[in-house]
Each structure stands twice: as C-alpha cells, then as structure tokens.
Symmetry: C2
Subunit: 542 residues, 2 copies
C-alpha cells in the first residue's frame, strides 16, 4: 500500500529555494582572483541565479539534458552556476583545471559541453586546446580584468550575460533522478571517467553530511570552502552550507598557506575543508609565524588522502584546532565515512584516541561498506583482516558516464573502490592501501600507507611515499622516498629502520631509501606513485 504523503522531489532547486526562504540574510563571501573581496547574501544568490537561468535558456539556448562546463575557482559566480545550470535541467560539468591539456581536451569532447564558463586567469589553459574542442559553442568569461583579451572564439562576459535578465524565473518541474552535475575522476591510470550525479544523490549527500556526527554544520558556522569547486563538487559543501544556513567563504585562487591563514582570520571562519597537503602547509606556516590572535577556527575536515596522525596531534597541541578525517571518492559524491571519537572512547589514552581519529571512520547513513577478501568472501570486522573496500548507497555511482564496462562493480552491485582496508569491531574503516600500491613480499602483504604514516611521524621527516620495487628473492620489496623537514638535518637508513622496528615486523621494514626534494603529486594533490615508480621501480636507486 502506498503511503499518502506528498510527492516532493529532492533537487538542487529545493536547496536554493530553502536558503532564500529560511536564511536569506546569510552571506557568501568571495576573495576573488584579483584580490578584491566580494560579499552578498543568499537572497542575492537567489536573484542572480534566476537571472542566470533566464540567460542560459533565452540567450544561450541551453535546454534540459545539455552539458554545461565550468572551469573556475571557488567564488560566488561558480556558486550561481552550481544552482542555475541544474535548476533549468541542464548538467553542471565541473572541469578539473589541474589536468593535462590532453586530459582536459578528452573530457570536454567526451562530455560534449555546449558552453564553458571559464575564469579569466584560467583562459590560457583552454586557449591551447580550443581548436580541438568539438562541441563548445560559447565561452563565458568570469572575472575578466580590464583590457582582457583572448584567442578563444565566441566569447561573452559573465556580467554581460546576466544583465538585463529578469530576476523572476519559474523553475521547471524536475525529476529527482535527473542528472544535475558531473565530475571526471582524474585517474592515475587510463582515461578519466565521468561520474554523473543526480539531483537526489546531491541533495541526500548534502543533507546527510551536515549532521553533528559529520561536518556538524549549522547556521552558527562560517565555512571556508578550500576544496575546489572543480573537484568533486567541493565535497558538496556549496549545497550543504545552504541547507544548514552557514555563511560561505570562497577563496578562489588564494590557496597558499599565508593566504588561507589571512582569510581564516579576516572572516572569522569556524570550520573548513581541504586535503592534508593544504593543512600541512597551513600548520607549518603557523608554526613559523604564529598568529597573534587565536583563530576562531574550531576544526577542519580532511579527505582525499590520509591525514597523518602527527598533523592531527600537532595542530591540536599547538593551536587547539581539531582535524577530522573523512573518506570519499569522486564515485561516492564524495563523502562516505568520517572518523570522530564517541563517548565510548573517552577512557582511552591520547595515543589510542589518535589511532582511531587517523582511521577513515564509520559510514554515513545512506552508505554501506564491506571488505571483500581475495577469495571473494566478506572479511570479519576485526580491524585486522584486509581486503578490498566495497560500498553502495544513495550517493554511489551505478555506472560511469558513457561506459558499459562494469568491471568496477561486484556481481551483486557494490562499487569496488580499489582501496585495501580493514573495518574494526566498532565499525571504523581504515584504508591500508590502494590495491595497486600494496606490496607483496615473500607472499606477505605490506601496506605502503602504514609505512608512510609511520615515517611521517618521525620529527626529521616531512613527507614519505612508499612503493614496491622488484626483488629477485622476495618478488617485491618496499622503497621509501623521503622528503626531509630540514635538508641539512640528514637521517640515516639505520635510524629509520630502527624507528620503524617499533611498529613493524622485520620483513615489513624497507631497506631501500631515497631522498627527494618533494613528492610528485597528481592533479588533486595525492602522491603520484606512478611517477615515483617510473623513477625508481627499475631498481635505479638514488
């Protein structure tokens, strides 16, 4: 028997309308590429998004199901695109600005973007490939400085597009399962693959992650969105903040540690998100040059790669700011788990607590996870048994865009993440490695991530990336590439082996070490192990 409740689709338009009704006075603050500060209210966002909707449909001829690209920093105009494009039933395709020209070209042609909204500072990246783009009819330039010129064809300026459009617009009735956004995974191997989010998945993700167990986001917060809008929808924060009535601070290209610290101070930011690299940089800058006044910042949510326990510890000890680890992937919208302590952990030692907080954590309602062993059976939740992490849920993809290949899915429909993980008795998931980064030595598995975490807790070591290198005896052995905290303060191989011996079995400890200036990274800031392997995996050691 059907329940007798109203049909009420969960869409991004619902979110925008809600923000204007319940929180019209809340702010969106943008630190724009030219260094100027822009501030307006949710009610202004609302009106301008309706102007944009009129412009998209009437001036640009964008219709339902069309793909509209964005190639831009975090700011209010990009936020307007986040609501305006899906609002008319089109799809907001956020293009990662950090990919190679070749990948960018592939993505734009593959997704068939009809229009691209591009930040003036990023235009040169598109100019290089414009001749190869097959479907783009128009480029809309955002934040163009005076005297701006470009070789891009069919150019229009964002403010010129919006002006003279009515602030009244009747949203079309949307099906909540319609697509609203798309991101491509950057893919360290192979071609980028598109993930096509629905209105429903976007709404449910945003409305779930604001929970006190997760981002704990309310109308009392001023949220700094460091995670780029071109990267997995900025973790859904542009939608979550409106649902929660939180002020939003958008830093555009001001992502250097000093710039972030200045914005945190000026805007009295209470919470923020970002990848570990960002927070490592901020921490080091604050250590060197401690802020005169204590920051209002209470906590930062971290994901993308593992947050080193040493960073959690240092930030909290030195500045009273809490690091909260989360986990997710482009394929999971992205947030799937979060690691916060619970009352049952209160009696634990500080070290034990840190150990839990450095895990990836428990799943959000709406997400399910399991660990599948090599033999295909589900692993027990004992905190030890490793296997591949598989997930399913309300904001997990069921297929990549334009791809029939279902190799990333189990036969019973779970998404295979490619992460090697454990789940402990309390349900805390811990990623021990990427399947392809796991080292198999003499028939035993060695976790590269566990070695990296341990090495990075050494006071003289800033960063460490561990890969497998071929070995005649053991088939594979670990190699650690090390970035020193201070290039003048060397650390010996013996010192490192002794240090690791506290936590690792003998066979797990690397005997190969190389010193590098910095760890090569992918476009989204993760360690680029493919690159490190290229340099060292042939056994040519430094």
């Amino acid at each position: 028997m059907e329940g007798l409740m109203m049909h009420y689709p969960l869409t991004t338009t619902t979110i925008l309308e809600y923000g204007n009704s319940a929180f019209h006075h809340k702010k969106v603050i943008s630190h724009l590429p030219d260094g100027s500060r822009h501030e307006y209210r949710f009610s202004d966002l609302y009106k301008r998004t309706k102007q944009l909707a009129n412009a998209l449909t009437k001036k640009l001829g964008v219709t339902r199901g069309d793909m509209v690209g964005t190639f831009a920093w975090n700011h209010y105009q990009h936020l307007e695109l986040y609501y305006g494009i899906p609002g008319i039933g089109a799809i907001c395709h956020t293009i990662n600005i950090r990919l190679s020209s070749q990948q960018t070209e592939f993505i734009i042609n593959h997704s068939e973007d009809k229009v691209i909204f591009v930040d003036a500072t990023l235009v040169p990246l598109l100019e290089k490939i414009a001749a190869q783009l097959e479907t783009v009819e128009k480029y809309i330039i955002i934040n163009a400085p005076e005297g701006f010129t470009t070789t891009l064809p069919e150019v229009l300026h964002y403010e010129d597009l919006l002006k003279d459009n009515s602030e009244e617009f009747e949203w079309p009735a949307l099906n909540e399962n319609d697509a609203c956004g798309m991101c491509y995974t950057s893919g360290t191997t192979g071609l980028p693959k598109g993930v096509l989010y629905s209105h429903r998945s976007t709404y449910l993700h945003a409305s779930t992650i604001l929970s006190p167990n997760a981002a704990n986001c309310s109308n009392r917060d001023v949220m700094l969105l460091i995670v780029p809008q071109f990267h997995v929808m900025a973790w859904g924060f542009p939608y979550m903040c409106i649902l929660a009535g939180a002020d939003m601070v958008m830093p555009s290209l001001h992502l250097q540690p000093e710039a972030i610290i200045r914005i945190l101070q000026e805007e009295k930011v209470t919470k923020a998100n970002g990848v570990p690299t960002i927070w490592l940089g901020v921490y080091e800058a604050m250590k060197k040059n401690p802020p005169k006044e204590k920051l209002v910042l209470e906590e930062y949510l971290v994901g993308g790669s593992a947050l080193p326990a040493s960073l959690i510890e240092g930030f909290e000890r030195d500045f009273g700011i809490r690091g909260v680890q989360a986990w997710g992937m482009t394929e999971t919208s992205p947030l799937g788990t979060v690691a916060r302590l619970q009352p049952k952990h209160e009696s634990l030692s500080e070290k034990e607590k840190l150990h839990i907080r450095a895990k990836q954590g428990i799943e959000f309602p709406g997400i399910e996870m399991r660990i599948v062993k090599d033999d295909g059976t589900v692993a027990p939740r004992d905190g030890k048994t490793m296997g591949e992490l598989q997930v399913r849920g309300a904001w997990v993809l069921r297929s990549y865009f334009k791809t029939l290949n279902q190799e990333n899915f189990s036969e019973d429909g779970w998404f295979k993440t490619g992460d090697v993980s454990t789940i402990d008795e309390d349900g805390y998931m811990h990623i021990t490695d990427r399947t392809k980064d796991l080292i198999k030595s003499g028939g035993e598995w060695i976790s590269s991530v566990a070695l990296e975490s341990a090495l990075m807790s050494h006071p003289k070591i800033k960063e460490a990336a561990v890969i497998a290198i071929p070995d005649d005896t053991w088939s594979e052995r670990p190699l650690a590439s090390i970035v020193l905290a201070d290039a003048n303060e060397k650390v010996t191989k013996e010192e490192m082996m002794e240090f690791l011996a506290r936590d690792f079995a003998k066979y797990q400890i690397p005997e190969h070490y190389v010193f590098i200036d910095q760890v090569p990274r992918t476009s989204v800031g993760k360690f680029d192990k493919k690159e490190i392997r290229k340099r060292y995996a042939e056994g040519k050691l430094g």
Copy 2:
C-alpha cells in the same frame, strides 16, 4: 538525462541496518511499567527485530500492506514493533491510548487492524470494546505480570511470540513510497482521521531533524523520549536516534514529574522531547525540590502547543536548561519548524531573544510554508499580517486515509493547517491561533493564544485559556478562564486588565474572567477549548 547513481530506497529497514552496522554498541534503556529497568544494545534490537519479523510472517501470517496496531507505552518492545512491522512491508498503526472508547473502536475498525500489540496495563481499555472490533484476529500482550488474565480473545504473549524464531531474516525489497506507519489525529471536532506515512517520508523526516539547527542529535547524546510512541511516532525520535547513534531512554508510563526527574538523573540524559505540560510539571517539581546535583540535561525540545516564554525563562534561569520550541502536526510527521536563535540575534536584549524563541520558528529543509490571507493572497513576511498557515513538503500528507474529501488542501496542493499565523522578516513563523479559536470582535481579530501567553506570564497565574463568547454589541468577546498558581492568592479582574494593557489594545482585553481548578485537556494534552466553550460560551459565567 538520468543521473547514474545507485537506486537506494530510503526505508525504516535502512535505518535499522545502519544502526546495527555503525552503532551496534549504543543502548536502548527502558523503564518498564512494573518499575524495572531494561537495557540492551542496538545489536540486540536488531536481532530481536528479525525474530519479530519471522514471527509476524510465519506465526501470525501478517503480509505486505496489512495493518498491525500497537497500543503501548514507550519501551524496547514498542521500538522492535516500529522496525519489525514496516520491515516486512506491513504498516505500524500506533493507537492513541488516551482517546475515548468510542474513538478507539472507530479507529481500529476503520484502519482494519489485523493484530494488536498491547501493553498489559492497557488491556482493560481494549477489553471494553473488544466485542465491537471487527478485524482483529490476535492480541499480543506485552509486559504481562505473573498471574495476568484477560477477557480478550485470541491472546498470545510477546515473548512467547518471539521465542524459537531465528535471528536471521531477509528483508523484502521495499518501495520507499510504501506505507510504513499510521497515526490518527485526535481531532477535537469530528471523527479521527488517519495519516499514512511512507518509508521515504519517515526516513527524510528523521534524517533532517537530527541537524544541528534542529534536534542537534548525535552519538554523544542520551535522548529521553517522553513524547509517547502512540502519539505521532514519538516525533520520529525512534528513527532519528538510530540514524544519529544516540542512546535512547524509554520511560513507558513513568511520566509524572518526579519519575521523569529521577530518570533524567539516573540515565544522565542530555536531551529530551515533550509537550509543554510535561515540562511545566518538571519545572514546578524541581522548584519545590531542587535536585542536589545539576542535571546533565542540556535542552528539551517542545511542541504540541506553544511553550510559554515564562517557562523558557524560568528553566534557563533556575536550572541552566534550554527550552527549544518546535512546531508540527500529525499531518506533518510531525516536525515542520524550530525556533533557535541565530548569530544575528546575539546583539538583541534578553527579552527580544525570548520573544523569538517563543515563536514556532523557521522551517526545516524539505518543508515549505506560507500564510494565506482571507482574500486568498499570500501574506507578506512582516511578522504582523495574519492568515492561515499552509505547508507542503517531503513529509506532509497529501490525503487522509480512506478519504476522498480534499477540503484540507488548497487548490494548488498545499495542506491547510487551520493555524492562524504570521511569518516575520527572518522567516520565523508564529502561531497566533487556531482558525476556529480566533475571536472576531467588532470586525477586528483578537488572538486567544497571545492573550493566554501574556496572562500566563503573570506571576499569580499558572494557566489561562481564552475563548470567544457571543456578544450582542461586538458579535464576539474574549473570555479568559484562569488557573491560579496559588488558590489562596487571588488576582482581581482589574489587576489582569491593567496587566494586559501593557501589550494589548483596549478592544483586545477581555472583560470576562472565570477561575477554574484546571484547564480541560484533549487526549494529547492540548487545551480542550471545545469543552471550555461548552461550559461558558452560552454566557453563563462563573
């Protein structure tokens, strides 16, 4: 274009499975009718609910779409029914134990309950009408004491029903739009009307109200569920607490102020819900007999009728406990709005803050509201213009059960609440009256609720209920029926009129006053104005 995300139905089973996965160690604590204390974990709830599911299908022959009644207090068995019945695709119909025999009989026959689960202490209420119940095949007795006997036919004991059933049960695949629960509105006029909740509406309501802007419920909380499970699904708290991982405390029939205070102390309760009458009782008992140790209780969420500003103030001043006002109806699952202060209110005076907190507040995401004037136009949000509150949203009914009559809905599909309200510039809704309680005097409207609130803030007055009485000159005039705080401390008519003159225009101030021992109440604790009118509206004054 459809998004490529997984199909993942939002059901009560999803909630139960989540609780067992992420929070299996969290507790359900029941203070049972016989005074004993029962404690188990979410993992036990999970296993026993699966046993119940087996028993329902195999022993009782309950199938999808069947209506199963509950007539019970708040405790773990009732919680098992909240998950077990909808889990197999049947509908959990919670019957209000405080209705008249006639109403109860009507409801059970109208809903066609096949089985009724009934608390032993409540059996006498059903025995009286059992002969008239047309569809009930079986009565399952919960918490029967030794030597229990009954005249009910076809009786089975709850534990006997469960025992010997497997803890394994494969949930059927459910459509999220299927019905999962039903409550009848008690209806001060006319026959009770059934509201048929869906899995989806139940899930979305629960997952939204745990927000830090609303109930602010997390795995750090111990929640006392005072609102009965037989009354609008205990405000969805049995579902919310599992999603949030909060410990639940169920008081069964221990609802006297002293019992509640004892439970708050013993269980270290952090948050609770309840109607104003409950909290008024608790406040007075605590004033008389202040607890030796400060309660852990941080705040209580209040709804059902308006929380007097004087109670908010007193509780906070005397015991440091915050009252948070919410609004809802059986027809809205129930929660629709909540009144919390926001950072923008920080600069206001304490009196102004209290004024905002005594409103019904802003809507939750998923709910929309508007005020419609007599002429059918939507009222401006100025905090002054009154009209009927209309709502729509993801957990608002679209029709009553077995009713074709759509008189409670606007032509464009909004639910007409029957509440007279205003909405202010900040979006805070304030109920000034029920449409049928509004007093029309000399062509001007007078709000009975506003007069009641003002009178109840008088130190000598405990409660006040205002109704309209016929008047030859003005058509209607207000009459105030007063319950004194201390029967020996009289207050004169002149004193009250002078007191009201501070806030009300002359024509709004009642000249008729009667003193009563207590305000008659409906089955859910609201002022029964129908009853007061019966006594006084013919102009026969006390």
